[in-house]
Amino acid sequence: MFGKKSLHDLIQELRTDQHVSFWLEMDEQPANSVAFPKKMDDKIKQALRKRGIENIYTHQASSFDAVLQGENIVAVTPTASGKTFCYNLPVVQRHIYNPDSRALYIFPTKALAQDQKSEINEFIDDMDVQINSYTYDGDTPANIRQVVRKAGHIVITNPDMLHSAILPHHTKWISLFENLETIVIDELHTYRGVFGSHVANVIRRLKRICKYYGSNPTFICTSATIANPTELCEELIGENVRLIDNNGAPRGKKHFVLYNPPIVNKQLNIRKPSTKVVNEIAATFLKERIQTIVFSRSRVSVEIILSHLQELVKKELRQKSIRGYRGGYLPNQRREIERSLRSGETVGVVSTNALELGVDIGQLQVCVMNGYPGSIASSWQQAGRAGRRSDESLVIMVGNSNPLDQYIFQHPEFFFKGSPETARLNKDNLIILVDHLKCAAYELPFERGETFDGCEIDEILEYLTEERVLHEQKNKWYWMNDAFPAHNISLRSAAQENVIIIDQSHVEKHRVIGEMDTFSAMTLLHDEAIYLHEGIQFQVEYLDWDEKKAFVREVDVEYFTDANIAVQLRVLDIDKEKQMGPSVLQYGDMMVTAMATIFKKLKLETFENIGSGPIHLPEQDLHTNGIALTFTSESVLKINEKALEQMLMGLAHVLQHVACVRVMCDKNDLHAVPEVKAIHSEKPTVFLYDRYPGGIGLSESVYKQMDNILSDALNYIQQCPCESGCPSCIGIAGVGGISGGEESIKRIVHATIGSILR
């Protein structure tokens, strides 16, 4: 091999690849700029000119004008479009008007907060203004904290800190709250689901404290592209907002390629594993030292791809040039990886969606996705990682065999033309609401008749009084408990506790290498599990469930582990019910009991099952919302048991995937469980439920759209090229029968759905 190939050469080669199923070329887009707004102070203009900026993009100008008129805004901007000016410019302008004014910046993670601090400080340094901006997070030293509280004009923090360190100690922050004029919420789209529901309540508390101290701040939010930014923003902050989406930033040429791996088993419609294909594709770029980022959905797959890539290119590159990046890594390690990416020392990075957020890692040229990331918004966020600046870039999405991916590959127009996901949160989820009412009551007594930013709460407060958490006196509720409520409430996970992972490979030097939420730990950190961390295999020697500690030791084995979970469902209360053909659809409260049962050892190369073992861990309960689709028709009831079981499994499989597309959520948020004889009805039933305590509104949406979901499913099964069911449609293959007669499961599933719709 002589000479290096450029990205352009490799793109030309890829064009001839027969497995490319779709190719979209997005042209360059020129900038759309306007002159500096009239109201903008000369100091700001000078600072901008100093940086060679003579005019600003249209969306930046609109944001500036709207905020200065006191409007709340949500700016929807793609990656690298200069969104920080959308908030920094008006905040600085407000400071020039009123030097006492304060601003609070909220970023979803500490890393982003650090990034922003350096950025705004550079900008301020170019100006003749006295603005102190500080980050306030878990790493802030005690002696600095006091300075931040008293003198921080811009306080940069994250929702967790706001929740557990700032709001409960508001009496130390009086000068901030009295003078708070602007609240900036970056990466708005990340505040959805459980996390979003928590944060919306933290915002309710924040507004309550501001009101107490007499301030009424304006909100500036920024978001990646989602279907409903205005709606999400209004839900999150409880205020009307103005949408700013006139993006004026330029964009380089971008190629978006869908790559469907070859079919290796025609009968079963099984394709070559996407992980392997991703490895090969990524390696061709990495060998040419073209900076490439690989996204994969699960932590395990990140680690598998990482070790393969390091192996594949070890002759060309040093091992450290390819790094992993995911949630379980400790912060220092993550910072170090981000740095070496920016410096170019690291050429490749394999990541879960942890890097979806706007951490600045500089310019990557190629983005490879292992499978559809689960949502359109996510896909664009990840794709935005390639070509942040204005040159040519390439995004390759490699398809999986699962129905969702194949659906997308069958219908690329859904992906490229369809509207992106709707982000939802449910701030009135009772469990979350009660948690935050406790925190709010701790912060400030409630008066009878007072609402929680519009939500009526007297009844809950009365309940908390009965529980002796609050005390009512002269129509006011006072906190009357010796606990500190915010410490027991985590915004990030429904399961409150995390399992600490301790490496005991070296006897004298045990060290903590990561942590994991308890629900994931059930399946990833059970005894004997292989846990992968930065490409290194660890075996779990002992999981101390009571103490929430997993002790691991480094090993070198040829397999990874995969655990099964047994789920049982009880219907607690039915809120809604409707007849659908011969079937009944119900929506209501459910109790899900999950228990890890066994794990399998799967060979790394072939995914071949080479052994298994039991898992002994206690059950975990989940109280949530769900739907039950119950079958009562003669034709279903006479299917023999084995076929019925398979039919329900197949149906659950396809319904889950299609429903996820319809209600626009991640596959992990909405689970499906088939039961041949459900406890509440004693009839064959398929359940779909929200994966979070109290529910986040997904199954309710499924209930409303069930007609569409069923017809999508029917349509999808019809279009699947397989003969009698495959992993891409109903998840299984095979034949069963009605009263002994041979008929494929696929046919039965098809017929069953058909009978409902008729």
Partner: protein, 422 residues
């Protein structure tokens, strides 16, 4: 200790029945801004509080309860001595009450509804002791219910002036920030919080006794160092629960134990202040252990009270306790600093002579004196070798020891080179 002397010591804590209420009545008429019409249940509550010695103080439509008690002050002589000693001191010291008028010292403690320091943690009892002509006056302010915080804070603040000086136990980290936090809630209706001077005795207790005592909690210090034994004491940790019970039943008797606890706490602070100051000043015929002398010596040394540091180290040496070798070593360092190498050397040698396990640092100091002071390279080499030998005896080196070992090895190498050349 005989029973009689024990009782004498305890006298300050034995409640005597000569409580004076006169002051309260005076104050009531003076301070009451607004007297509300009492409903019958309010009246009942006031009667119940009265049975515990508390009288109502009104503020707008709120009420808080205040109790003042005068105890005889048996340690007045001791107190005067140490007070005079502080007055005669020239250098600053965190415990110094040099510029504080006697009656302005407030021995201060609070009881709260929790241990967290956030906005939801309330103070329900503020107590303080002052030394007055007739003895020790203990004043306690009680938050009768959470809606009366303004009254509570208002009347508490009526008692104070800018020159008041707090003496507390962990008040710098806990009680005072907590008072500030509570004050923030009523800051628009009550006067501003004065900026008090503050002596925190916990820091002093830690200086003196952290090596001796399992913890420096006030109850442990009382028992081990003040010979104060409380009978039937309600532990402070029960305070939140007792207050919650009171809030639900509205029966002040449930708080009697914690009120008594707080009262004893603030009087213990007076005793503790005397005890610690007496040790520092070596007045009032205190017998100190060598360890205490050394700890006090270290503290004075840090604060540059050199004479006092010398004094306490010398006292430690005189005590003939087994801990006194450290005093020799410390004195050695001090002499070295003054430039008296001869005296420094003697002290280091003496430290080594009484140690069962010789201290590496003394060898190193001797080596330095030999090399740089006496220009005796051979001697310096010998001491360095001894130091290394000693380091090597420990089975597992800590990272600090490893670093020390490296330094000593370098010193030896350097000295060996010098020896070769001469």
């Amino acid at each position: 200790m005989s029973l009689k002397s024990k009782l004498n010591r305890l006298k300050g804590h034995l409640q005597l029945e000569n409580k004076s209420m006169d002051k309260n009545e005076e104050a009531t008429t003076k301070d009451a801004i607004f007297s509300k019409e009492e409903s019958s249940s309010d009246k009942q509550l006031e009667d119940k509080w009265a049975s515990l010695g508390f009288v109502p103080y009104y503020f707008e439509d709120q009420v808080s309860f205040v109790k003042r008690t005068i105890y005889p002050f048996h340690q007045r002589n001791e107190f005067n001595k140490i007070y005079d000693w502080w007055k005669s001191s020239h250098l600053p010291h965190p415990l110094s009450c040099k510029d504080v008028p006697l009656e302005r010292m407030m021995f201060f403690d609070t009881e709260t509804t929790g241990l967290s320091t956030g906005a939801g943690n309330s103070i329900f009892l503020i107590g303080y002791a002052r030394i007055v002509e007739g003895g020790i006056e203990v004043t306690q302010h009680m938050l009768s219910d959470p809606s009366s915080e303004a009254a509570f804070m208002y009347h508490f603040l009526q008692d104070f002036t800018e020159d008041d000086y707090l003496v507390s136990y962990n008040g710098k980290a806990f009680d005072w920030p907590q008072v500030k936090s509570r004050h923030a809630f009523v800051r628009n209706v009550v006067p501003k919080l004065p900026a008090f001077g503050h002596i925190d005795l916990l820091h002093a207790a830690r200086r003196l006794w952290k090596h001796e005592l399992p913890s420096c909690r006030l109850s442990i210090v009382e028992k081990e160092k003040l010979s104060v034994f409380r009978e039937h004491d309600t532990p402070g940790s029960m305070a939140p629960l007792l207050y919650f019970d009171y809030i639900h039943h509205k029966d002040p008797k449930e708080l009697a134990g914690i009120i008594e606890h707080n009262d004893q706490d603030v009087r213990s602070l007076v005793t503790l202040f005397i005890e610690i100051s007496s040790r520092l000043s070596y007045t009032n015929d205190f017998k100190l252990s060598a360890k205490e002398h050394i700890q006090i010596g270290n503290w004075f040394n840090q604060l540059k009270w050199t004479e006092n540091a010398f004094f306490h180290y010398e006292k430690a040496i005189d005590s003939s306790d087994k801990d006194r070798d450290e005093a020799y070593y410390k004195l050695g360092l001090m002499w070295k600093k003054c430039g008296n190498l001869e005296k420094a050397k003697t002290h280091f040698l003496q430290a080594l002579s009484i140690q069962s396990i010789p201290n590496v640092d003394s060898f190193i100091e001797l080596a330095k004196i030999a090399e740089h002071g006496e220009k005796n390279v051979g001697e310096a080499y010998r001491y360095s070798k001894l130091a290394l030998e000693q380091i090597k005896k420990s089975v597992r080196l800590t990272s600090k020891e490893t670093a020390l070992k490296l330094k000593v090895e370098k010193r030896i190498e350097r000295l060996a080179n010098k020896l070769d050349f001469h």
